[in-house]
Structure formats: C-alpha cells, structure tokens
Symmetry: none
Subunit: 193 residues, 4 copies
DNA sequence: CATGAATGAGGATTCATTCAT
DNA sequence: GATGAATGAATCCTCATTCAT
C-alpha cells in the first residue's frame, strides 16, 4: 500500500505538480481513502521528502561506485556518470523531474540534507574534472566548477525531452554528449573556411 | 499600477512559485487591494500568460535580429544568441525562471502560442547549426536537433546558479560556453597521456 | 442612453436573472462603462424598481379603463382583461417574467407600493367576478377570491410558454381561456358515456 | 447531517433564493462549517439538483400510479392528480417553489433530465385529456396541449398563495378547481341574462 | 489497518459602489 | 454627461489535516 501510494504520487506529482495534486487525487487513484494516506505518512511534505531522498541517495551511491572504481580512467568515469543519468530516465524520469521542480516544497528541516546530496553529486563531477585537468586529460583552461554545472544542466534537462523508446538509443545519446563535451563541434578539417 | 503588479508578481512567482503566491500576497506588497488586481487582470492565469508572452516575444525578436544580420557568421551568431540569454539574467532572470517552471499553469488556450514561440526560438538555433554544418563551420557528424536542445538547456539553466554580479563577467561566461561547445574540453596537446 | 440601459437590463434580467446580471454585463452590451450606469441610476435595485413600476402602472391603468367602460358587460370585460395580458406578451413579456421572478430583490421601501399595485390588479378582477355573480352572469357557487387567483395564475403563466408568433393567434388563445373559464371542458352532449 | 443540510437549504432557498443563500447561511443554521457542506456535496449546484430531482421523481412516480390505475375514470384521475399537487403543498411546498424559480441554476448536464421529467408530468396530463376527449368525457373542441398547460399553471401557482392550514381545506380547493375546469363559471340557470 | 466524518484556514473571483476628473 | 481607477465585502470552493471508531 505504501509503495502504491508513492508510485501514484510520483505519477501525479510529475503530471500535475506537487501543489496541484491533492491527497485525495492520490488515494482516489488507488481506491483508498485520505485516512489511509495519513496512516502511512505524517504529511504530504513527508511523502515528497521520501521521494526526493530515495531518488538522490540511490543516484549518489551509484555515482560513488563509478568514481571509486580504479579500473576506469576519467573519460570512462565521465561516460558512466552521464550514462547513469540517461539510463535512469526510463524508470526514474518522473522522480527526477519532480526533484528538479518541487524542491521548493521540501521543509526547511530536510532541505539542507537534500540540497547537500545534490551538491555532493555535482561536486563529485567537479572533482573528477579537476582530477582530469591535473592529469592532463582535460584542458587546463577550463573551470571545473562552471563545467560541472554545464554538463549536469545539459544532461539533466534530457529528462524533459528525450524519449528512451525513440529512434536514438541511450548509448548513442551519451556518446553524443561526450563527443560534444570532449571535442566540441567546430570543424577543423580542410574544408574549414 | 499595472506595471507594479506585474513586477511584484514576477518577484513573488520566482521566489515562492505561482501557486504559492496569492493575489493578496501581490497586492499587499504594493499597498493595493485584491479588487485592484482584478481591475487590471481577468485572472491570475492571465497575469502569468502576460509575463510569459512579453518575455518570450522580446527574446524571440532579438534573436531574429541576430539571425538576420548578414554581417555576422555562424560563430558570431551563436555567440550573440548565447550572450542574449546570459545578458538577460540580470534584468529578466526572474521572468525566465518563472517561464521554465510555471508553464504548467498556462491555460490551454494560450499554451499553444507560448509553446510555439519557445519552439521557434529553439528551431532558430537548430537552423543556425544546420546552416553552419552545411557551410563547413560545424562538424557534419553532429545532430543539429539534439545539439540545439543541449546548448539551450545548458545555457538556460545558467539562470539558476549564475550571479551576474559575481567574479565571472557575462562575457567571460559566454566565452566559456562557446569554447566548450566549439572545441570541447579534451586536451590534445603534447602533455596528453 | 437611460432608455438603452433599461432595455438592455430587461433583456438580460429576463435571460439570466437579476442577481446573475452584473452592471458591467449591461453596460458592456451598450458600449458604456459602469460609471455611466451610476450617472443614470442610484443603484441596481432602483433600476429593477423602475422596470417593475412602469410595467405594472401601465397595465393597471389599462385594466381600469376596461373596467370603467360602461358599454361592456362582464363577459366582455373579462375577455378584454385576458386579452390585455396576452397581447402584452410580445412587447412586454420580458418585463412580465422579470416581475414574477425578481420581486424578492425589490427594496423594502418600494415593495409595498409594487405589491399593492399587483394586488389592485387582482382585486379588480375579483370585483368584476363578484359583480358578475351578483348580476347572475356567473354562477353563485364560485368563490371570487380563489377564482381571481386561478384565472390570473393561468393566464400569467402564458408568459412562459406561449409564442405569439406561433400557430395560435392571441385572439384564439384568449377565446380558449374564456371558453374554459365560462363553460368548462366537460362534455354534456348525447355522445357522453 | 446530509439530511439536515438539505432541509435547511430548502428553507433558505425558498425564503431568500438560491443565489442569495450562501453556503455559510446554510451551515451556520445547523452549527456546522463550510467544510462539512463540501464533504457531502460537490457544489452548491449539486445540492440544488438533488432537491429538484428528489421532488420531481417522487411526484412523477405518484402521478404514474394514478394514471395506471384501471379502477379510475378520467374525471377521477384528473381529480387525483390535482389533489396530488395540492396535498403536497404542506410538506413539499418549499421544494416546489424552489423548482419553479431556480431551474435556471441547474447545470447544463442535469438540465435535460429535469426538464424531461417535468415535461413527462405535463404530457401525462395531456394524454389523460386526450384520452378523455376520445372517450367523450371531455368536449372535443378543447386543445389538450394548451389545456394541460392551463390546468398545471393554475394549480401549480397555488403554491404561492394557498395556506393549507387556512379556512379552505385541500379537498375543497381541489373540488373548486375541478368544478371550474369541468363546468366553467357561466351561469346557465333561468336567472341568466 | 483503514475509514468516514468533520474542520478551518486559505485563496480565487465577482461585483456593486464610490469618486475624482 | 461620462469615464476609469480603485475598493472591499461577500462568496464559492479546495484541501491538508485530525480523530474517533
């Protein structure tokens, strides 16, 4: 039941928004009553917090596995992190969009924790880039902080337009991103004017 | 008075969200009454629509001036479009963030117009990229459609973290973006391992 | 202008109701502003009172002309009064329906006057019936008071379903009413079973 | 509680009108809160619809019992139908007046159903008259359609002036009506001039 | 475990009216 | 004569939440 509530809430929050989804919307959808909701959750905001946390902790944990893996170089780690995000669209896209949009409704008490985890995720990317710069993988004129923002912004927005069941596969998309990030789009061939 | 309402609404919508901002919040802030609001606007949604439209029409018009300018090549046009976005953060950042977040509350009737204009903006970038590919400015293995999304997603998200009065100037930021987009971050120098 | 306001108000009050018609509905319809309305009328209720009074005073005056006419007998007077009502449907049906429905919104101050006039109209019919009973025109077992109600209720409701431009002419309808009232519908002929 | 709300609403709608009665008026009267109202009714209009329907369905059902009864001839059926209406004044007069006056506020969706039922009631009377004409009970020069309107208009308006606890009993009133309808008021005795 | 009843605070909207110009 | 700006009171409705059972 608790799982059903969470799943339905994710669907509705994504579709209509947190504020626009009432407890009754959720319980109606699963044939339960409002009372049932309050049996499982202290409040609507607590449910939102749970959704946020379970998404972000899972992602962060997977990211840290990638980063810690000594068998991968920085290019591969960057690839894996982007793939981690893109491949989650199919199953966790709704959660992700909720997180980007509804952070405002997280209560003060939990806000710091959640913002901290999101920051950790970004700082991990930034550290990866800094390491890559130090090791000469990446150019030394890039700012790792801005770049971490840029890459994540670009990749995260994919949640809003990419259809994982469309003509472009997840792997192709990740490769596109990596190609742009690594090599840019400027043509340096002989036909260049 | 109408202008004051709009300005206050933009501030509050950005700060607290559309749904979370009551008409009274707005009018209290300017020492007017709720009645006054409804003298100037048919509904709360109409105000939101006005904010959306005035932002997007202005941006689109400026973009089209850039694109039509025959004295600029595609690199310069791309620079100018990114600069157009970034330089708007200071004065119109709040409107922009509202637009990214509150589209859901636009009524069906106006939705198509607004979505159309946003699509136009993106398709203009895409067309610019396609033209650049055809002319050999840009590599011919990039997909202009995905790229247009990527560039705009990356640049648009700047609204959420960039402080125009901070240590990085708008021009520097635009240059960073252009550098990444055009040349990527991979180090190709001799020190490369 | 005042006339235009009254006419439009009558149309709208009939169509949507007094409470449901706003001052703005009225003024919008004639291309004026709310201010204009208040130039001509002290309040919305005053306008309603004006409509009531001008309708009822006109009707009452015509009724009294009929009753005073020494050349007519009671049958003819009854005919004429019913015809007076029916023939007013085309031009004053809207006013009439407003009067039946919106009396509740007349202010205390004017209520007695208007109710008095409506009562006068009914009592005139009652007096006519009493006179007819005394003179042997009408049966002496009828109660003039109930009958006055019955006749007026029946005839007045015609405003709600009769179409003066339809297949039944006003004269025919009046004759029907008179026939029923005078002779009833019971078949007394030989074919009676 | 739901019953208390309906009863109070009927009282107030009859006394002040639908539009003029606020939800708070109703709930204040029974010591409940606005929220309670909306626990039991989706909207104010739904409550009105419920009042309409329960009144009219009950009446229609009873009418149909009368009509189907093979032991009664058309005179008796006409009597019973009029008695059905008049005898309802004491207990359901308020509902009846609401129905005559507030149909306008019924939502489009339910309007057809309710208008249909009212039409059925009238058409049943019309059919009864037609049957009576065919059987020679009633004169063959009467129009059953107009007559059905006339009889119902006359009888239904009783709701507005008849006091069931006054000097005239319900049975007397019904007899008066039937006498007028069947035999008319014209004196045909020898003293007739 | 789960429900149904009840609440109360908040919020969008309507609208008659006033008044300075 | 007429208008536009502003008001404020009233009203419908939503909804998270509580609680006894």
């Amino acid at each position: 039941m608790k799982g059903k509530i969470i799943q339905t809430a994710i669907d509705l929050f994504d579709e209509k928004g947190f504020k626009e989804t009432s407890i009754e919307d959720i319980t109606d959808n699963i044939g339960a009553t409002k009372g049932t909701f309050y049996y499982y959750f202290k409040s609507k905001q607590e449910l939102l917090k749970d959704i946020h946390l379970s998404f972000i902790l899972d992602l962060l944990q997977k990211q840290e596995e990638i980063i810690r893996d000594p068998s991968k170089n920085n290019y591969q780690k960057l690839y894996d992190i982007i793939y981690l995000i893109i491949s989650g669209i199919k199953t966790k896209g709704k959660s992700a969009r909720i997180i980007f949009r509804e952070m405002r409704h997280i209560e003060e008490v939990h806000l710091e924790q959640i913002k901290g985890k999101r920051r950790d995720f970004r700082l991990n990317v930034q550290a990866l880039l800094e390491d890559g710069i130090a090791k000469g993988h990446f150019k030394n004129n890039v700012r790792a902080d801005i770049l971490a923002f840029s890459i994540l912004d670009m990749v995260n927005r994919t949640y809003y337009w990419y259809n994982p069941d469309g003509e472009i596969s997840e792997e192709e998309l990740v490769n596109y991103y990596l190609e742009i990030i690594l090599n840019g789009i400027k043509n340096r061939g002989p036909e260049h004017n």
